[in-house]
């Protein structure tokens, strides 16, 4: 067989300037084929070349054999949000090759398995054909491993074509297989083979290249679930209960791993924490509520279906005022939906989870550091406000690899909220569990096993007096609900404040939250450069909102609320918070399961601007 390089001449651009350190690389494989290691090695090598890099792993909801795409974006200026315009495709999956190629923009580079050559029908692409199956035979004798090792070969090929340093590839391989020297050797050989084969057989390309810089010094690459788990670890979590569900499982699993490692008593080897894999989400939240009631710092992690199941206990936590934290790693719903696709579809539901009047504190990290910080903060707020706090991440944040500054050690001591000890109660201290002593709506509590005759009280989800007695009295019921509303108002200025970037004199504001941040920031740049539309930006980091949000909307005649759901859930919340400002709120909505990208935001905003508002 003739192993040759297809070189299809570029139709555009005539004058091709090489893009440096600005790359979108997409790798199409099947899951369970071991391609994940290869992809991470590529990513890590780029990272260690000092180039900001991110990846999006688009995987199916099964275990083996279905199409998977891994997209690496490297950009020296830090524009590493989701981007659908691919520069380089590595096509390894016959099932999707036709579509993968069809989706490319003219001029894109394709590295394709020779066996898939037949799918190359376009002439406007730069195609490099590689005989992976043949090559792999040279390095790997075990036929069962060949499929996996073939993947590492493309790492070498890509390294050659894109100018990724082979030293960094080797380092990355060593790291990846730190505990498996045999595998490290095998993979190292395979990568080297790919590189040398490419060097020998392929022409260099000058469409886009990478080169060492210094933009990632000291940074880390980490997944959101790992960050959240670490946040809980350093937030002093003592109780975890969970039920497996994609994409939240790795939160609990990572947390368990670190707890096991770092939270055993040095003297006795005993655990300073408890983790229970519950029988379902109803039990998981019930255990968390039980633990929170007894005084533990308790957390559970789940996703949409689990959140639905936790609804009843959420209302109990709210009304009986028991601390609890749910990490909701949002995936695409409704129903089972797309378990391996991202979404911000639970925002409105989580905000008012449960029947009857109740609203919850939501923390919404917009980046990986905030996953860490807000996990601790969630535990903190749950105890301070004696209520349920939901930490709203999503699959994009939680299961993709993100570049981040390393996390800071918490700069304040653990706050345990208004807890009265036996000493606090004093000789004959009277104690009214649900009295608003401080005028902030937050009452005092005691913990079970407090050795004082007045410490005990009866926690219930039914109507209660200030001293926790049962009552059906209309006035007491009403007053208690009002106090809870007041407590919620107190939270407005205690939850993480929005991050605001005001641009003078613009009429346009953008509000976004969570994982949309990078795409929004890139969109703002594009709006400004392409459409001369400058925009202010407010990134919500929590609910309930505070006056800053009000003022931001009030300060901009047109405000776009960007969100990754169909029903404009956050816009609805803002509209009912600020009815007088409702008319100025418009929605940018994205809900196909992929992370939102800058172009989507730009095009929707441009579409919705009236002719007066935007230059053509």
């Amino acid at each position: 067989m003739n192993v040759a390089t297809h070189r299809v001449p570029h139709p555009t651009p005539a004058v091709s300037t090489t893009k440096i350190n600005d790359l979108v690389l997409k790798i199409a494989t099947a899951n369970g084929s071991g391609s994940q290691s290869a992809n991470l090695i590529l990513m890590r090598a780029i990272f260690h070349m000092g180039i900001p890099v991110s990846s999006k792993n688009l995987f199916p909801s099964n275990i083996q054999g279905l199409p998977t795409w891994f997209t690496i974006r490297a950009n020296e200026d830090g524009w590493i949000g989701q981007k659908t315009n691919v520069d380089v495709l590595i096509a390894m999956n016959a099932e999707t090759a036709a579509q993968d190629l069809a989706d490319l923009h003219p001029g894109a580079i394709v590295i394709i398995n020779e066996a898939l050559k037949r799918f190359v029908v376009r002439t406007d692409l730069t195609v490099f054909t590689v005989p992976f199956s043949k090559l792999v035979e040279q390095v790997c004798e075990d036929t069962r491993l060949r499929k996996m090792v073939a993947n590492i070969i493309y790492v070498g090929v890509a390294a050659f074509l894109l100018y990724i340093e082979m030293d960094e590839v080797r380092n990355a391989i060593t790291t990846q297989f730190a505990r498996k020297p045999k595998a490290a050797k095998l993979n190292g050989d395979a990568a080297a083979l790919g590189y040398s084969w490419a060097k020998e057989h392929l022409e260099e390309q000058s469409v886009c290249r990478l080169r060492r810089t210094n933009k990632t010094k000291g940074n880390i690459i980490i997944e959101g679930n790992e960050a959240t788990a670490l946040g809980a670890l350093f937030g002093g979590v003592t109780f975890v209960s969970w039920y497996p569900i994609t994409p939240s499982s790795s939160f609990a699993e990572t947390l368990s791993y670190y707890l096991e490692k770092y939270r055993r008593d040095p003297d006795t080897g005993k655990a300073t924490y408890a983790v229970v894999q519950a029988e379902d989400e109803l039990a998981a939240i019930a255990m968390v509520v039980g633990a929170g009631w007894a005084g533990a710092r308790a957390i559970t992690g789940t996703s949409g279906p689990g959140v639905s199941l936790m609804a009843e206990l959420a209302g109990f936590s709210y009304f009986a005022e028991v601390p609890a934290v749910i990490v909701d790693v949002q995936r695409m719903g409704p129903s089972t939906g797309l378990p391996t696709r991202t979404s911000q579809g639970d925002i409105a539901k989580a905000y008012q989870l449960s029947h009857g009047d109740c609203k919850h504190i939501l923390l919404i990290p917009g980046n990986i550091r905030e996953c860490f910080e807000f996990a601790g903060e969630a535990l903190e707020l749950a105890e301070s406000f004696q209520t349920l706090v939901l930490l709203m991440t999503d699959l994009d944040l939680a299961m993709n690899k993100w570049l981040s500054e390393p996390f800071d050690f918490p700069n304040k001591l653990l706050a345990r909220g208004k807890v009265l000890t036996a000493e606090d109660l004093g000789q004959d201290g009277s104690f009214a569990r649900y009295r608003d002593v401080d005028g902030d709506g937050i009452p005092y509590r005691t913990l079970p096993a407090t050795n004082h005759p007045n410490a005990g009280y009866f926690t219930r989800g039914t109507g209660h007096t200030e001293s926790a007695g049962y009552t059906e009295d209309p006035v007491q019921w009403h007053n208690n609900l009002d106090r809870l509303a007041k407590k919620f108002d107190t939270a407005r200025d205690r939850v993480p404040r929005p991050v605001i970037e005001l641009v003078p004199r613009t009429k346009t504001g953008i509000i976004a939250y969570g994982s949309s941040d990078l795409a929004v920031r890139e969109a703002r740049r594009l709006l400004e450069t392409r459409h001369e539309l400058a925009s202010s930006y407010l990134r919500l980091r929590a609910l309930p909102v505070n006056h800053e949000v009000h003022d931001f909307i009030a300060g901009h005649p047109v405000v776009y609320v960007v969100e990754q759901n169909r029903d404009a859930q956050m816009a609805s919340i803002l509209r009912s918070e600020y009815p007088e400002l409702a008319p100025r709120i418009r929605s940018v909505l994205h809900y196909n399961g992929l992370p939102i990208d800058a172009e989507t935001i730009v095009s929707q905003i441009v579409d919705r601007q009236t002719s007066k508002e935007i230059k053509p």
Binding site: I221, I222, A271, G292, N451, Y457, T459
Partner: protein, 354 residues
């Protein structure tokens, strides 16, 4: 002849009416009951008060947990000094799992109903038992949903007649004792709210036990399930109760030496040094034989027999907190230094992500 020697250092109370802690019965009572006059659940409440009083458990160390139902309300009616949580319907077993891990020193008592446990809460009940959560789990079993006005519950016997006399239950009852045994429970008892002596003795033994102790107590609903044709009425229970043995209990702290006839009395030594004695009545029953217990319960269900007593005992299984090897102190109140790893640890972890 078996000789039982127990803890030689008793804490003898001064006040003849006080227990070994110097507390009087009143200190073990709670709010006034709002249940119907004569409800079986109130009788159980009294037995609980007495059992904890007599055992000298510090009320502040007790955690009272329940779901929703008339039965679940009763946690408010005993030990007013203890913390209580009347959670949501069917989830108490899971709430208790969290609470008991959060604070190991708690003596947890959960009160549930047959609806709360055998219908909506069945899965959590079984998983709690399987985990061996340290708790005294009382099912106040009246064969119906009292609080929602008397519908049949899943423990209603086949052939039981509904109030009004028109509806007869066709379904096989769920036997919570049999299921508990099936889930590996080491302390399974069935008794009758009206047999206050037996209830109290079993409760005391359950207090001494560490692990899930399941007490399925037939507790008549005098308002909705106390008529002719009900197999959970006061009259039916009184007439049909058939104790497997006469139960005695000697707590570890009582310095008494008793002699038993080993031919008629079986002595069960508990890990904490307390002793249960089971004296033969009509039956020759062995509470250590799991299969025999299952056979007995099967027969009882088929033939509508009402055996009471300690159905099954096995003190070998470690409670959940021990299985998990928790530190001795309550997790709930560990200081920051023990629950937040150091700055250096964070640095080390951060490095691993570089």
């Amino acid at each position: 002849m078996t000789t039982v020697m127990t803890d030689p250092l008793p804490t003898a109370p001064r006040d003849p009416k006080a227990n070994r802690l110097g507390l009087v019965l009143k200190e073990y009572q709670g709010a006034e009951s709002t249940l119907c006059a004569g409800c079986g659940h109130d009788a159980i409440t009294s037995s609980i008060v007495k059992a904890f009083f007599e055992m000298g458990v510090e009320p502040y160390r007790v955690a009272k947990l329940s779901g929703i139902g008339c039965s679940s309300k009763t946690t408010n009616y005993f030990m007013g000094q203890a913390h209580g949580i009347n959670s949501v319907h069917g989830r108490m077993a899971a709430v208790a799992t969290g609470a008991s891990l959060a604070n190991r020193v708690l003596v947890s008592i959960g009160i549930s109903g047959d609806g709360d446990t055998a219908s909506i809460g069945l899965s959590h009940f079984l998983h709690m038992v399987r985990r061996n959560v340290p708790i005294i789990y009382v099912i106040e079993n009246n064969g119906c949903y009292g609080l929602t006005k008397g519908q049949f519950s899943a423990t209603a016997d086949r052939g039981s007649v509904k109030k009004g006399g028109l509806v007869v239950n066709q379904s096989l009852p769920i036997d919570c004792c049999a299921l508990a045994i099936q889930m590996g429970c080491g302390f399974v008892a069935r008794t009758f709210s009206g047999d206050t002596k037996q209830v109290r003795t079993l409760l005391k033994a359950a207090i001494a036990y560490r692990g899930t102790a399941v007490l399925d107590i037939v507790s008549p609903c005098v308002t909705f399930n106390n008529h002719e044709g009900s197999t959970k009425s006061v009259a039916y229970a009184r007439e049909n109760e058939d104790p497997l043995h006469e139960i005695g209990f000697v707590p570890h702290y009582e310095q008494i030496t008793v002699e038993y006839d080993s031919g008629t009395t079986k002595v069960v030594e508990m890990p904490d040094g307390s002793t249960i004695t089971l004296s033969k009545l009509d039956h020759d029953y062995d509470s250590h034989d799991r299969i025999r217990a299952l056979a007995l319960l099967d027969k009882a269900r088929e033939e509508l027999l009402f055996y009471t007593g300690l159905i099954y005992y096995n003190g070998a299984m470690a409670p959940l907190d021990q299985q998990m090897n928790l530190v001795d102190e309550p997790l709930a109140t560990l200081p920051e230094s023990r629950v937040r790893p150091s700055r250096e640890t964070l640095a080390e972890i951060m490095e691993s992500f570089q």
